[in-house]
Symmetry: D2
């Protein structure tokens, strides 16, 4: 008996979902897509847009939604689509007992889908996706730093604020480029790891005293760590790259006032490396299915 | 008012405690030591051994014991001492309200000391000590690998089993030496980090299939992972360095039978780098005191 | 007797010469500059443009010209200057017995200056400048690669063609970012070094066979190595960054025809990191003076 | 027409020649060996020692001698052989028109062999062999440093004297292990490369001023650089690993007097990694033959 390959529906999203549908069809899966306008995005020949949301769902096994699913809790996030897709319409169309994966699925969305026995996976809660996304995020941060500075990272003094997923990957890359890399953390455990990897370790409480020596400051901590008092100590011509989600880790008004260049950069994977980001989603989908016992 | 520096008692242990007492006295602390024989260990001029356990405890603030505290739950671990120090005698001598730090303090020991209002700190439960100890452990593992092989690590195929504290530090050093480094783990999170640091990632379930390509296999997992079935697939002349505590991660009988070289290496920090190990203890003591609000 | 600091004249050039004059004046040297228009370039307050070429040369010890000195062998290279400065006019103004440093000084120029007993230094012939310039060149190449690709360098297959100054520095940075780095060379000596640094080594004669696996190809060899025959084997979506000076190392017509993205990037130090580039010139000037026995 | 594989004679040497003969026979070449006693060295089953020097030379194409060829210019260097083989007897036996490769072939030896039309290759003059030998040399130096110190290399201050083949490879490994790595050189070109690889650069003229901060000092310069004046400045407990050939780079009498630990380590590849060293010879032989147009 020959095993029939699963069919995917890709609904909405950005360039990553397009690339993802290409990976899937290259691997021999059937893919139907919706929520993209032909004139807004260049599609590969083998990618066909479905005529309707309903048609998209025919015979499918797995539905992949955007990351994040929605930005207003009402409509689906669709970067390359003129029209609007209501979440409730999408959920109505997903066939019972199928699988739905997307990013930032709210408890309200989950209740609706649970009622239809749709298995729901929030991709942004998958730790391997978050970790692997730190790679394009780190590289993107480096690209923005290069573009916005008159000096090289090699040989410069770099500070990474925070030693979570992004901090770890970014510090490793900066050191690899030849930057003198210092990492800030606030617990002894992280500071021990920081030392063991050969970075200089800086305790949060000493931040004010030492911040004046850095050429590049990368913030990964989602709280207002670079406040006016700290910004006041920063070296002329230093560059701040803020990776923390809104409202970010920088007092931007104070920075402007002091003439300090501070750039907030968000959602880097989809921007700087959509193809790598799509591959990360692709691999995560396979991990999820393996864990659920779903053969692909 | 001038602040009076704390006085330490160092009781028993190995070379690390000797080095530790040197660091402390170099920093200006008063130190009394006991549980070492002059003819068994070369002491610096400024280090004086107390005439008795009781004398050692006079005017002290902090007592530092061995790591581990005891190997038989009855006597204190004293590597360079002919006599015996009973734990109960030691605990009797520690003055009320003082601080006692050592490794592997059992609940029974803790109860006795709690009753005397002695503050008890198990140093082996301090995560920063465990993390920093991974550095001399990793270097020691590399030293043993170099000593027991006819090939260089540079350019060789190295496998690290496990991605905990030791696995992380060891993999980083092996890669730094120019080894082709693969790390085994069993959860997608660790595998994602492994990839992000540029190692090859190997899932435990694929171990048997791939183990045959490795020249060096470093085990950090405390369970019998290298059993007969796996050993059977290992390449001739491969070297296994087992860092897992007894009974270790290797079926040593099977290894012997198959002619595979497998070496169990334990307690590396004190053996290969007692001075670095002492410095790690020293720093941890200061972290502990900072957290307890004890000024040093 | 107090030692009088040397006076510099900076004549023509680009952003690097401006930054250089800032470094010099920050260090306490007197600097006169010419060959820049105030409305074309933002000058620091302490930088004054001389009213005439002749005035610029008053009391100076060392004249710094552009890098390269000229692009047409007749006029001085002046990026931010409306007017024209003839080389012969410049040379007439340089006082006898002084020092002139610039890039690409032709034998003809040298004869004229030799006749005036002006000591001539071609900065582009200084090996340390060329080596240190490989740092901003390497970083710039990486920046362009990031900007022009949908995938991350981390985890990608990168090929560096040539193992001279740029090849060495670039390969080291790519590996540091986590790219799988292969370096091509044609002699056994370079191939041995390539292996010893942990890169994969590729002999030129095997280029055609293996080129198809690479995502990024960085060319540093100043000859037509990526000809039609080789380009034909390159993977779809691969990106070529060509660092070789004109006419470059790529058959650009063939690349266009085959739909391969190939980018020629030149003079990177001044473009991506003018401040670092200026610091390199600054340090080289000091090395030159130290070697000549000129106290600064 | 089927191509007949070449036959090798391996005459004298150490463990590397034994390993080399194993590699050759594993690759399908016929190998005859002489200059080893069965009871002195464990041989693989497929390796047969010839009954006489003359017999060894029957039908061979290439003769591989020891590295170095001789230590007294009269007898062949044979580490595992009771008897003596005179160089003149060996040269008499090598058939006309064949190839002879060994290390340190003197002009006198070359004349004798030239007269017989024997093609002579001094393996120690092959740059790729010297470069690749820097790998086991560097690793061996690191092993000796680990064995002779109470501190870890990770986190220590390491100085590498000289930036030739060994200096380059060793500095890269030390940095990879997490040591703070400084490299000394005396010309601006090397100092520029040193900076570009992210090491701290130290000019020879500043050696005395800075030597006091280092925990480990690795010397690769074949001249008395660590003289009494310099040794006087070295930190207590520092360790010197001297890789320079006799008489070495250290005033050993002064070091002893000052209580400084200095270790001379020579011929590391054959000692710490004979198998890797043999593979390097093996590859060099193939490179030599390729360059000579000899098909293997």
């Amino acid at each position: 008996m020959k095993f029939k390959k699963r069919k995917f529906a890709i609904v909405g999203g950005d360039l990553r979902q397009i690339k993802l549908s290409q990976y899937l069809s290259k691997k021999g899966y059937e893919v139907s897509i919706f929520g993209f306008d032909k004139n807004k995005i260049e599609l590969k020949k083998n990618i066909m847009i479905s005529p309707s949301l309903k048609k998209t769902m025919e015979d499918i096994d797995i539905v992949i939604g955007p990351i994040p699913c929605s930005r207003d809790n009402t409509t689906l996030f669709t970067k390359y689509y003129e029209g609007k897709i209501l979440l409730k319409d999408l959920f109505k169309c997903i066939p019972r007992d199928k699988i739905f994966m997307a990013g930032n699925i709210t408890p309200e969305m989950k209740i609706i889908l649970d009622n239809k026995k749709v298995k729901v996976i929030d991709l942004l809660k998958r730790e391997e996706l978050a970790i692997l996304n730190a790679i394009p995020t780190g590289e993107g941060a480096i690209q923005y730093a290069m573009e916005n500075s008159d000096i090289t990272l090699n040989g410069s003094e770099c500070l990474v604020l925070g030693y979570g997923r992004c901090g770890k990957v970014l510090a490793n890359m900066l050191k690899g480029l030849g930057a003198n890399t210092t990492v800030e953390a606030r617990n002894f455990k992280d500071l021990a790891y920081i030392k063991s990897y050969g970075y200089k370790a800086l305790h949060l409480k000493d931040l004010k005293k030492h911040i004046g020596k850095f050429d590049f400051i990368f913030n990964t901590i989602p709280s207002l760590i670079l406040n006016k008092e700290i910004l006041n100590e920063i070296k002329e011509n230093a560059l701040i790259i803020d990776l923390a989600s809104k409202p970010g880790g920088v007092d931007y008004d104070a920075a402007k006032e002091l003439g300090i260049k501070a750039i907030s950069v968000l959602s880097l994977p989809g921007k700087v490396a959509p193809e790598s980001a799509a591959l990360i989603i692709y691999n995560t989908i396979f991990n999820v299915c393996a864990e659920m016992g779903v053969t692909l």
